[in-house]
Symmetry: C3
């Protein structure tokens, strides 16, 4: 039995590795992946960004257009983000080599060549959507930007994006999205906030169905207390949570879970509320912007050892609770030591799909043509918390 | 010659490794090992504890009884100490699996099974003694709790226990216990405190004798200046040190050296003084409790590079001096680079005994039936410091 | 092509490794290497020092003479710098073994032997020059102390030495010395200070010539704007920079780049100005002493991510700019990923010389008999900054 568990653990370990040469890394690179928050990248600035174990330079041209190129200058390999953004190009601070937004070297001042020979660093296409910058790190032409879109993030109303980095493997975070039971326990940890008050601690009946876009998850905690989420392949969830104060509408959350490397995970969230009256909209926006700086990974000791939770009873609290549960599995969870049950049906389905798609890639077969849901669920705004409205 | 030294170094390296699969780890697990201070574990709380490279959960039931179980829930492997203590059980914060104090899973709320199948995590017996919680991490039935007992910790009078973790291998700390010469130098380092004033810096005549419990160590620094300690196999020492102020009686110290892992060592000490008049007892207790928070490992830079020593001239000072000497040997000392002399007789005897017991285990022979001394030494209260009383 | 690059990267990696058993380590050990600043070592004190991956003890006898011996006592291997300096000897704090400045053990108090047997630790000769302590870590007799000498550091006038440790491989720092183009870009980074104002950002014409002492580097940025530096094998540069304030003379800088280990590099600098009138000399000395504490490696986050530069427009600023460029290449630059051009002629020559000398050592041939320049260049005090005088 130990041997079976260990074998399973080893097989699942493949799903945790996302570097450029790994199978999972190749699969994830076939999809648009968010890497940054638009509002955090000022014109004519550059910063380093690590995605799927690749070190890159994200810079914003004078025009406001973002570009994603290799992390280091081709010449002496100094990091490029310390250089100068000039127009839509970036210049290395060491000897002034200049690159355009596609990664092509356009100038080498001390070499005396007007047109440099064919020197390139990596360069990847970007798209801005719902306040996030998405990148396509795969080979060939990028697919149309369609699968990640959600109607709710294109309607009028308050919308805020944020990114934070947690210190463990991405798969733990994704699996948590397909695990409706955790809500009943994790979100009662330390303190009960408005999310668990709305959802209740009842143990749900579970239903998981593969869709053309990913997995639909239905957790029924009683009559009029049904939670639905539409998870999109390969690493995005869409849920709905109660608003931050009485009278405010429920908020749609788009949550992308992108490996920084195998031991760090970026969580890129979009929070969007439907337009209500202007005063409510203003308060909702202010709330969403106000909670952005809190990152539970900065408070490990306090949260895990002192059980001292953040003040905000909605986003900061649920954030912290999720962090404690997932970080508690270790930096990379040992899946060979697990004891799954029938309530882990969502996680089991998720893993089967990943393994199936990896097998397709490895044997040269076509992967599933994932496409945006034609009929996305109208996620219920219910639960005990419905009373609060 | 180099080759001989290197071979000896490699052989001795075996003594430094104490994980569950190592030979030394197996030997140490045959004995009760202290892991925590009773007074620091409040009812209905849990904490992580690492012992001999094993990660465990120490929790205290509502009744005040402590329990020691595996570090992670069997389900998705989240650490258990973040969960809830309920009565005498502990419940995981991720999906609510519940365990009793023996490590048996007693509830899996989302699985719908009243009686869970045979799911277990580790569970180890505990005993409280002299203010410390002792665990038995070995296989089979725990031995009777007898070898670690000392009459002096069962008499009336002030008694205080404490635990601190130092950042190097356990064997350096144990060897220091069988090394009477170090007192003459180490405890003069930086500043002379009341301990070295009592013992003096004279070079001692040494005598080491194996007893039925461990090793008796006799260091004679002159007429009326004899220091005896009774070291108990496998990792406990018993010494006597001068009291903290004029007129206070000498204090018995029981010192256990327990590997946290191969690079960290827990020192669990019991300080017990004989009952004197109530006012002296109060002052001695207050002193012993007051010095508890000081851990020299928190002051490495200050102690080792700036030579800035703690204020308290007795326990904090000797503590800091021992730390500097032992930490100075490296995280795991390279015993292949040593040049032992005849004054290292205690260390040589200690190593011979460890090696002999390991050989017995490896070849399936019986190890020595270590048992509590029938006639423990009445440790002298002498030295120049005797004058101070 | 990738394979060629990788092979080149691997070959050049040999130059980055300087431990006692490496070829580059053996080559560097044939030369006097500075390890400390005289003024920072008080009589009767000791400190640890790591040079070329060797851990050593640098202590200063009561007479003021410095000594360099092994890092650990031969007995139980405790670090020796925590011991006591007694006269011209050092005594271990663990059991009192005493060593003289050659590393010979002269006393073992608890062993009862008046004359200890032949116990030794390492011991290396030292020389003081220009405010620095130089060591010879090689085998056999040390060469005469001649190659590192510069007339300009032996003339009257203000002279100040300092040492700082940067967190990357030594070779990046040395290569930067033979790379005149970097000045035009790196020293404009963040802010233009008095150095780049003097030198100008023009792209230089380059000339690199091997001399009997090392490499002469000539960078011509226009008529009357010529920069010359005399680099001395294996790791010393000599440049001239503008003075810190109007009217102050240009300053000669001797810069030694000594590997602490493969991931840390000590930069030992001597700054010497020619004697001017006493008031100017006082101000120049005060300036040189005042900037000594600034180490850009303590400000990585601030410099590299926040682009917040130090106040001083000369030494601190150029220091910080160099640090950003070189640290940006990584802890150990991957030279297999480079794209060198003709403007890297100095770096190419430097590498060829190192490789040639290593090959000589490996095949048992004589290395070049490097000797002090008979006619050192009179480094020009020019550039746009000449106007400032």
């Amino acid at each position: 039995m130990t041997t079976d568990s260990q074998r399973r653990g080893q097989r699942l370990q493949e799903l945790t590795r996302t570097g450029p040469l790994t199978e999972m890394g190749k699969l994830l690179r076939r999809f648009w992946q968010p890497i940054a928050v638009c509002a955090e990248l000022a014109p004519a600035t550059a910063r380093p960004v690590r995605v799927l174990s690749e070190d890159l330079t994200l810079y914003c041209g004078a025009s406001g257009t973002p570009y994603l190129v290799g992390g280091r200058c081709a010449h002496r390999c100094t990091v490029l983000h310390t250089g100068w953004v000039e127009g839509e190009s970036i210049r290395c601070m060491y000897h002034g080599w200049q690159y355009d937004g596609s990664g092509r070297c356009t100038e080498r001042p001390a070499e005396g060549d007007r047109t440099p020979p064919n020197v390139r660093i990596a360069g990847y296409p970007l798209t801005e959507y719902a306040g996030l910058i998405f990148s396509y790190l795969g080979p060939g032409e990028a697919p149309p930007f369609d699968l990640p879109r959600k109607e709710v993030f294109e309607r009028p109303g308050p919308i805020v994006a944020r990114r934070q980095v947690w210190d463990y493997n991405w798969l733990q975070a994704v699996e948590n999205s397909l695990d409706a039971v955790h809500v009943s326990f994790v979100h009662a940890y330390g303190r009960e906030g408005s999310f668990i008050e709305a959802v209740t601690q009842a143990i749900p009946e579970l239903e998981y169905v593969e869709t053309e876009a990913g997995i639909r998850q239905i957790a029924t905690r009683g009559v009029g207390n049904v939670r639905i989420s539409d998870w999109t392949f390969p690493n995005n969830n869409h849920i709905r949570i109660p608003g931050p104060f009485p009278g405010s509408p429920w908020i749609d959350v788009g949550l992308w879970t992108v490996a920084v490397d195998d031991e760090h995970t970026a969580r890129l969230n979009v929070y969007g509320a439907p337009a209500a009256d202007p005063d409510v909209d203003r308060r909702v926006s202010a709330y969403l912007e106000g909670i952005g700086d809190y990152n539970p990974a900065d408070h490990y000791q306090q949260l895990v050892l002192e059980r001292c939770m953040p003040d905000d009873p909605l986003l900061q609290l649920t954030n912290a609770q999720d962090y404690i549960a997932q970080r508690g599995q270790g930096v990379i969870a040992d899946r060979g030591a697990e004891t799954l049950g029938r309530s882990d049906a969502g996680i089991a389905l998720l893993r089967r799909i990943y393994v199936r798609e990896l097998e397709a890639i490895k044997s040269g077969r076509e992967t599933k043509p994932w496409r945006r849901l034609e009929q996305p669920a109208d996620l219920p705004m219910q639960g005990a918390g419905a009373k609060r409205r």
